[in-house]
Each structure stands twice: as structure tokens, then as C-alpha cells.
């Protein structure tokens, strides 16, 4: 019995604890670095759906997102942005900015069925977003201009295309 306790006392607890602590600290530092780069500098996003055809594929594309420009207010007309959906805060959607605050935007109300169009002025602090594929996109034509604060990043580059892998096998 006393032999067991003697062996227990012989184990270098302090240096093991020191090692474990410094390794845990390293993991925490790595996690913090990844989080800061992903949320504040540059990130990758997997986007899919029909609303941005032909720019973004139906099956999905990996896109590079720039977080700095959105935070500094450098988003302009024609940019594709990633934003929190005004209809569900847990969803993030990609759309193109077609009007900044003060711009007058003319859009087709129901492109599949009629030629009627409406003109609206974008309020202060808001942007008008539309999907490139106006026949299959839920955007500002349905939910109105969205506040700039919902924009989380500006898409600047396509990193890979899912559909290009599929076409090789044919």
C-alpha cells in the first residue's frame, strides 16, 4: 500500500501540469487567431442556390469573403455581398447590391408574368439587394431595402467550383 503512494508521489505532477497548461494555451491562442481572421479579415463561404445564377452555381461554390471592406463601409453598387437574411437571422445569404442610400432603383415587380415596374428611393443607411437570377430570388423586391448593418462581408473571389468536378466524369 505504501509502495503505491510512494510511486504516486514520484510522478512529476508539477511538470505534467505545466506542460498541459502550455499546450492548452497554445490551442486557445490558435483558436483565437483563427476566429479573429475569419470574422474580421477574410473568410471562406460555401454558397448554393439558384438566386445568383449564373454568377454562383446552383450546386454550390466556395467563395472568398472580405470582411474589412464591409465594416469600413466600402461596399458599392455591383458588389456581391454576404448578409444576414432579414427574414431569418440564422440564415446568411449572398446577393448583389444594386442601390446605395439615396439611389433611385427601378425594378420589375413580377418578371415572369408582367412588365410592370416600380421605382423606389433607398432610405438612409440602407441598401437595395437583388439576386442575379430575378426569376428565382427572394430579395429587396420582396422584403424592401435592408439596413447596411446586416452586411457581413463582400465577396471578391471564387475559390473553387463544385460543378467542375462533376463534368469531368462525363
Amino acid at each position: 500500500m505504501s509502495g503505491f503512494f510512494r510511486r504516486l508521489a514520484g510522478i512529476p505532477w508539477r511538470s505534467i501540469a505545466g506542460d498541459a497548461f502550455s499546450r492548452a494555451l497554445l490551442v486557445a491562442q490558435a483558436y483565437c487567431a483563427v476566429h479573429v481572421v475569419d470574422q474580421h479579415l477574410c473568410s471562406l463561404a460555401f454558397v448554393r442556390g439558384p438566386s445568383m445564377l449564373p454568377a454562383i452555381n446552383l450546386a454550390g461554390d466556395v467563395l472568398a469573403v472580405d470582411r474589412v471592406s464591409a465594416r469600413l463601409g466600402r461596399v458599392e453598387n455591383g458588389d456581391v455581398v454576404l448578409m444576414i437574411s432579414p427574414e431569418d437571422p440564422r440564415k446568411v445569404v449572398a446577393k448583389r447590391v444594386l442601390g446605395m442610400e439615396g439611389d433611385s432603383v427601378t425594378y420589375l415587380v413580377d418578371p415572369g408574368n408582367s412588365d410592370a415596374s416600380k421605382t423606389v428611393v433607398v432610405p438612409q443607411g440602407h441598401v437595395w439587394v437583388q439576386g442575379d437570377n430575378i426569376y428565382a430570388s427572394k430579395d429587396s423586391r420582396q422584403f424592401g431595402a435592408v439596413p447596411y448593418g446586416l452586411i457581413t462581408g463582400k465577396i471578391f473571389c471564387r475559390v473553387s467550383s463544385v460543378i467542375s468536378f462533376a463534368s469531368l466524369s462525363f
Binding site: A28, Q29, Y31, C32, A33, H35, V36, Q39, H40, G73, M83, I84, S85, P86, E87, D88, P89, R90, P123, Q124, G125, H126, F143, V146, P147, Y148, G149, L150, I151
Partner: protein
Amino acid sequence: MGTYNLLWSIAKRNVTTVLLGITISDRCVNIISVTGESMHPTFTAADRVLQGDFVLAERRCLEKYEFSHGDVILFKCPSNHKELFVKRLIALPGEWVQLPGSPKVTKIPEGHCWVEGDNAARSLDSRSFGPIPLGLVQGRVTHIIWPPSKIGQVERKMPEGRISQI
């Protein structure tokens, strides 16, 4: 040689602290200084930035976006994304809100909420800019941490008879 190593180790430690601070303020809690009188008497503001109340805002609620009536929330102003407002959440999506002093009732659309300040006379809130998207919310205020006489939890309070579920 000795000076170079010392500067490098100080720089490394500061960068680690900054990264840790940014991660904690993005994921866990944030300390906000309240300015403006729209939440009087819950929060008292003062003339200069460092004299007002300091409050703790938790960010864990942003993972699920589940809020309750009467929560005090922090959100980006819909007409200026650089400003942060602190107001009380009055109505959640799908509920009907009656604007005070008028018979009109508004339905809160999906993904939006209705916010009002406690000090109705001096508050720029949903009565002026309408319901706000929940995506603008940046945190929920849970505690006051300064001045010492006001340290404590922020209570959930709801004004009577303003909302209805049907």
C-alpha cells in the same frame, strides 16, 4: 541582442492578449458604456463618455437568436451601421403591436422585432423607424457593472397591454 528578444517577447504577448480580448468580446461578453437618456431610469447617462453607466452585454444569445419579452438588447442603428443603440425588446416576430396614441396595430414581420426605450419621451426607437431585423442585434444587456451603487442584474420589464399574439 538582448533588447531585440525582449521587444519580440513583449510584442508576442500583446498580440496574444489582443486576439484573446477580441475573441472574448465577440463570443462571450462585451462591456458597453451607455450614453443617451432613452433608457432612464434603468440606465443613467451623463455628459461625458466615461461618466455614464457601464453594462455587461452577453453575446451567447446570438447563436440561437432566442429572446424574451422585456430583454434589454444592443443593436446597430438601422439608419447608421456605425452607431449602437440600447433599448428594450417589446414584441417578437408574428405579434401585433399597437402604436401608443393611435388605433393602428402593426404586425411584426418574420425575423424582425419591436424595440422601445424605457424613457418614452426621449427615445428614438421602433415608434420612429419601425420594426428592426433581428440580424442587427449585437448582444443582450444582463448586468450593470458601474457605478457601484447600481451594480446588479437588469430586470425584464414589460409595459402592460401593448402587444397581442393573435
